[in-house]
Amino acid sequence: DAGVTQSPTHLIKTRGQQVTLRCSPKSGHDTVSWYQQALGQGPQFIFQYYEEEERQRGNFPDRFSGHQFPNYSSELNVNALLLGDSALYLCASSFIQSGNTIYFGEGSWLTVV
């Protein structure tokens, strides 16, 4: 049973470019959340997708957008990259019912130069 898988694992982008990160949830999970983790910090919630809709959003600008597909996989898009967007981007999946465990992927390391 594969856990949460993310791709790519590492990437380098130039300031102003756009990036797309991908996530496949753990089998049986229907909810995907994205987090940004800067070095030395805890993860910060970006948004959550359920039933292909954005259900909750953290304090991130509109440059951050996402999508959930019918197979529950998800993408995170970041436009007009800034140096400060350099971070580990984590995808987490869960089953919608409250009280269930969240599983994190290993993350995608984004470096903006």
């Binding site: 959550q48 359920y50 984590l90 993350g107």
Partner: protein, 117 residues
Amino acid sequence: SQKIEQNSEALNIQEGKTATLTCNYTNYSPAYLQWYRQDPGRGPVFLLLIRENEKEKRKERLKVTFDTTLKQSLFHITASQPADSATYLCALGADMGYGGSQGNLIFGKGTKLSVKP
């Protein structure tokens, strides 16, 4: 604004001792609190969840307490081992109306635990 603090950035203990990590929060009424372990360069791994109406949870050598009056959780690792060395994250969550509660977690910065042999 909501604030969550983990008592120290780093904690060094001797093998066999009990490690105690603290998580304090303000301006928030969480429905539950979770503890995660994170190794360098890896994603967080879920350890324990405790709900607001629970005082204590145990799992093998791990124990977590939750005091909603003090707005504090304590995380204990008994008989610690060098393999327990990692960063431990505390996270708060709230139940949402549509049942989607698990995604929007507020994390602390973490405490880096080092267990010396």
